[in-house]
């Protein structure tokens, strides 16, 4: 968490906006972020906030409507372009569902060897063994098929596949949401360890604020396609500036706080309307702290302090 001097910026996103051709509203608006070597940015949001779409843009499966995505200074090509150019990808993605992301008709050995082969990298036994060791899997899984492994093991295979290419940036889409809490802990620790030893930059997308708290150095809170608050995890979660962040934090069931959450302030009313508003803050209809300005002027991410930005006219700790 210390301020990092002279670390390499691995992923830079500038004013990224995206709209699906078939939809009227923008799914993502004005997203900007930076992630450095060895750093994890947690992107948190509920369903429909656009976090999965963000990842697909970062990995080149979708093309931005406006804005740029660059890796270590090089602008991102679409995934198809990269495949055509046969360049080793600088960014890899670990999907949410470990069962769906592994080809059911391939053995684990084939699954792990595939990205290495395609990129003309070492597929020798020692290398495969090394990769397995890194993710804590035993040799015996090589013979098996995905269906024979547990959820945690499958996710380790997916992670192994992703890191085998030594990517500069690792993107994770809800990597532990489908796992039991005891297995979740194993995989989360694995990711932290891997980051320390391999040094990749990491974007960890999740709806689970508690998991993100344990794994992310910095956190970005998303709502309806925009970042509401971005800052160091410790600062943001200890005293959230944005009302939505505060509501999210209060909503997470904690073991230490016994009994129901107190206070109307902490409750978010109503449902996600799904409509992006051209004018005004998207969150105002559900926000208990809304003032008149919130209906008239769209808030932008503004600097609260060094490395803390909030998109709110009336932040909670102004």
């Amino acid at each position: 968490m210390s301020s990092q001097v002279a670390t390499t910026n691995r992923l830079t996103v500038n004013n990224l906006s995206f709209k699906f051709r078939t939809r009227n509203e923008f799914t993502l608006r004005d997203i900007s972020l930076n992630v450095s070597t060895g750093e994890t940015l947690g992107v948190v949001g509920e369903s429909g906030c656009g976090k999965s779409t963000l990842l697909r843009l970062l990995v080149g499966l979708l093309t931005p409507t406006s804005g740029t995505v660059s890796f270590s200074g090089n602008q991102l090509d679409s995934a198809r372009t990269r495949a055509r150019r046969a360049e080793k990808p600088a960014v890899q993605l670990v999907h949410q569902d470990p069962f769906a992301s592994l080809n059911p008709r391939m053995s684990i050995r084939q699954i792990i060897e595939a990205p290495l082969r395609v990129n003309h990298l070492d597929t020798s036994r020692p290398r495969i063994a090394e990769i397995l060791d890194m993710v804590g899997l035993s040799r015996s899984v090589l013979r098996e098929r995905p269906a024979q492994l547990s959820g945690g093991q499958r996710q380790r295979v997916a992670i192994a596949r992703a890191i085998s290419l030594q990517p500069e940036v690792l993107l994770l889409d809800e990597p532990v949401s489908a796992l039991d809490v005891s297995v979740q802990a194993q995989v989360v620790n694995l990711l932290t360890d891997l980051q320390q030893s391999l040094g990749f930059a990491c974007v960890f997308v999740s709806h689970d604020l508690a998991v993100v708290a344990h794994v992310a150095h910095r956190i970005a809170v998303m709502y309806l396609g925009r970042f509401m608050e971005v800052g160091s995890t410790r600062a943001v979660l200890a005293e959230p500036a944005h009302p939505y962040t505060s509501a999210l934090v209060r909503a997470v069931p904690s073991l230490t706080g016994a009994g129901p959450k107190k206070g109307f302030q902490s409750q978010v009313v109503g449902e996600l309307s799904g409509d992006q508003l051209e004018v005004g803050c998207n969150f105002r209809d559900r926000c208990w702290a809304a003032i008149e300005k919130c209906a008239d002027v769209s808030p932008h991410l503004e600097r609260l302090s060094e490395d803390w930005h909030v998109a709110c006219h009336y932040p909670l700790n102004r």
Partner: protein, 267 residues
């Protein structure tokens, strides 16, 4: 225990695979296995099963057993020949169409529709009338008229597999179009397509038998349908001329469809 095994995919495959193996072996060793030349008149016409002629003789005195044995070869050649054409064409078109989509898909599907709407039986008759009835021509005709159904099934499977997360994951680590189609998609398309293929082949067999029955088979080779058809007029009294070739057709078709069923079994 037996019901436990026979309820699995493996269990259901044992019998029909055995049957198909027998068929293949008979086909390969026809020349040695058959007691007589099937075209030669070796006995009296329309004699029932006897020691010398276990399956009897046909209208003009040819040994029926030799006929059935050689018929196995002819059918095997035709089914395998058609299978080769159908598999190559249907997979190429189905996979390409499903994977690339867009204009390519539209064009290929219109082409396949053109082949699909034509009634095969009548097209075959017309083609035979025009080109002749040799086994090779028959294989080509049946092959060209049979691939379109399989191609559509393959295309449908490809479309759904293409959307899978693991295919996306493959594209993300750099898998090119060719590799993605053949290493990621094809193995997952095979199960459903194999089922359809087996059913298709059994229909080809029956189609060939029907054509042979009405006299449109290759005159240079014996076909089961021909055996039954050539003695049509005497079927009532000489039951063996219909029964044995008919049984052979039935069993062969049954083996093919049973393999299809077994492949479709879950586990």
């Amino acid at each position: 225990m037996i019901s436990q095994i026979s309820d699995t995919r493996f269990g259901k495959l044992i019998a029909p695979i055995a049957g198909l193996s027998v068929w293949l072996i008979v086909a390969l060793s026809a020349n040695w296995l058959a007691p007589f030349d099937p075209f030669l008149v070796v006995g009296e016409g329309l004699r029932g099963p006897s020691i010398r002629h276990p399956l009897g003789t046909d209208l003009i005195g040819r040994d029926l057993m030799s006929g059935v044995i050689h018929g196995a070869r002819t059918s095997a050649v035709i089914v395998l020949g058609v299978a080769s054409i159908v598999v190559v064409v249907a997979f190429l078109i189905g996979l390409t169409s499903g994977f690339l989509g867009g204009v390519v898909d539209d064009v290929l599907m219109r082409v396949s529709e053109a082949f699909q709407v034509v009634p095969r039986f009548f097209l075959a008759i017309v083609a035979i009338a025009y080109f002749g009835s040799g086994v090779d021509k028959l294989i080509v005709i049946l092959g060209l008229t049979s691939w379109s159904g399989l191609a559509r099934v393959i295309r449908a499977e490809t479309l759904s597999v293409r959307e899978s997360t693991y295919v996306e994951a493959a594209q993300l680590f750099g898998s090119g179009t060719l590799r993605t189609i053949f290493r990621e998609i094809l193995p997952n398309v095979l199960p459903t397509s194999s089922v359809y293929l087996m059913l298709l082949l059994s229909r080809v067999l029956l189609l060939e038998a029907s054509l042979a029955f009405i006299g449109l088979s290759d005159p240079g080779s014996i076909s089961w349908g021909y055996l039954a058809g050539s003695s049509q007029a005497y079927l009532r009294s000489a039951w063996w001329v219909a029964l044995f070739p008919g049984l052979a057709i039935l069993l062969a078709a049954l083996c093919l469809t049973s393999v299809g069923d077994a492949l479709g079994e879950r586990k």
